[in-house]
Amino acid sequence: MRTSFRVGAVAMAAAAALLMSGCSSPAAGGDTSAPVSLSYWAWAPNLDKVVDVWNKAHPEIQVTVQKQDGGDPAITKLLTAIKAGSGAPDLIQAEYQKIPTLVAADALADISGTVGSDVKSAFTDGVWNSVTLGGDALYALPQDTGPMMFYYRADVFEKLGLTVPTTWDEYAADARAIHAANPADYLGTFSSSDAGWFTGMAQQAGASWWGIDGDAWSVNVDKTPTQKVAAYWGGLVEEGVIDNKPMYTPAWNAGLNTGTQVGWLSAVWAPGVLAGNAADTAGLWKAAPMPQWDASAPATGNWGGSSTGVTTQSTHTKEAVKFATWLNTDPAAVAALVSTANIYPADAAAAQSALTTAPAFFSNQPDFYKVAADVAKTVSPFTYGPNVNVAYSAYNDEFAKAADAKTKSAFLAAVTNMQKITTDDLTKSGFTVK
């Protein structure tokens, strides 16, 4: 009892001191109320350093980053806090595919009335669509995107006399050549652990797995674009020229570093992963646009990318929105996101100056961000549904079986099963599914 009284007294004194400094500071703009403190659950590395910049300039709104383990655990925690009725932060870093799930659980506040009308113009329509879900509401502000690119070992390609693939047919030919030159080497692997990766490739092929039709959802996994992608990869795995082991395992990390993984279909954030996992190969990799299904209409998908949302439990929505707007559109903040947190901002125009120097790992490719900027313009539209979590876990299970079976027919069966599991889950919850 006595201790808590003393802590309380100290806190009051501190608050009073802050209040007084707030009064005397011109930055507070005559706001005489006590400083607002906001909590922010985020997992992007070094995001707290970007937030420090804000805290220094805005004594009246102090933001504390509570570091999370990653995208999935943070969302699980938030959903639990929402269910419990308390314990949620003011702000949350949410991946785009999680937004419908969060909105369905009533975890994200509609901030369309609070955000300035000029904010929309900072982002591309595709990105804006994923934070509005195509309606009038606004559930988050875009932070970063992950347009997919093709990364390859330029030295190996040169040694084998291969050209950089511009179509998927060329990619398959290169995969065969690389595996033939050394049976231990693969141009890539089909990973059953990375649903977001496969989603990005289906998106490139023109898939959009969910759709809204009036008051009903539709599930469109088992349609031509996704079947085409699954058949392509199933064929290569069956042929044995593409590896079938998951990514992000110690074995895969070692493969990148020792050179048995000669390429990686990844996203714009890949340099950070490669620098961490394959330090010995610095300066040997190059980035190129994704191989295409139709070379005359270049397209790509997104793998990753996240937004800043305000939770429904926040009592300081206005301040939270003010901070989120600054973080994702202010040129200084966005430049810090690039240089300190190493992410590719959704508001790329604001980060122009920071995006001129290639990442250190790609010092051999000075035009890295020019390639990335061109690719980012070609992202195909994609709608996420209210049960992405179910579809993704179905992907993990069904494609693990398919990768294990190593047959094209198993890959196609996996697509059909994903469709069934995703649809059944919606129907079971009482959604109208068309």
Binding site: D215, K245, P250, A251, Y392, K401
Partner: protein, 289 residues
Amino acid sequence: MLAPGIVLFLAFMAAPIVYTLFLSLQKKQVKGLGLGSGGRTTAFAGLENYIGSLTNADFGASVGRVLLYGLVLIPLMLGLALLFALLLDSRRTRAAGFSRTAIFLPFAVPAVISSLLWGFLYLPAVSPFYWVFDRLGWDVAGVLDSSTVLFAIANIALWGGVGFNMIVMYTSLKAVPTDIYEAAKLDGCTEVQVAWRIKIPIIAPSIVMTALFSMVATLQVFAEPTTLRPLTNSLSTSWSPLMLVYRDAFTRDDIYSAAATSIIIAVVTFAFSFLFLRVVQKRAFGQED
């Protein structure tokens, strides 16, 4: 005097069980697109979730897998534990203190850590074992392949389990009065005969207890397959019953059917343990009645 115990039991055992029962009888009900506040409500589901769990092929398959896993693991684990306990208790054993610690030590390693360590050893690309096999020119298949992954998981559990069960059995061996052994010796018994005819029957109650604990632990296997899952295509998110519960509750956000599955697992485990005790009680505890 019992008040603190009762309060703790009510708060941390009874209340969660009652709440789980309550959840298991509900389901979520969506209106329209299910977006925004009021888009989702809960409704009474009756036994729907239970029927769903019991008819779920994934659940049946996961139970089948852990039963097989138990058949592989438990006899081997308890057999080794008993063998080591008897060896340590035999008078001719040297360096008993060191051996005891060495056998017990793996139990002190948390399952997640040991699974990570074994994960490295199982992956051909990073495993020192495979490096040696490679040098010897042997072509050894990956142990994380679907045909052998069950043994790979059992192996991880074996190391920790042998140590723990060995200590339990060894402790009860130490409680046996030594004059019994002297009498047996005078009658001309060999060490093996002493072990087989005196020691094992006397510690039978501890063997039964360790068997019961092992069975319950087997039905609840979770940490090892969950940790190994990202490394291989051969472990699904519903490999064991508890993984299925975890997936439904936290990945699929369907806490209601997860609650129903949990209740079913709890009831089956309870019935299983009760039945097992009923069957072996007479033999093991007969002399105490």
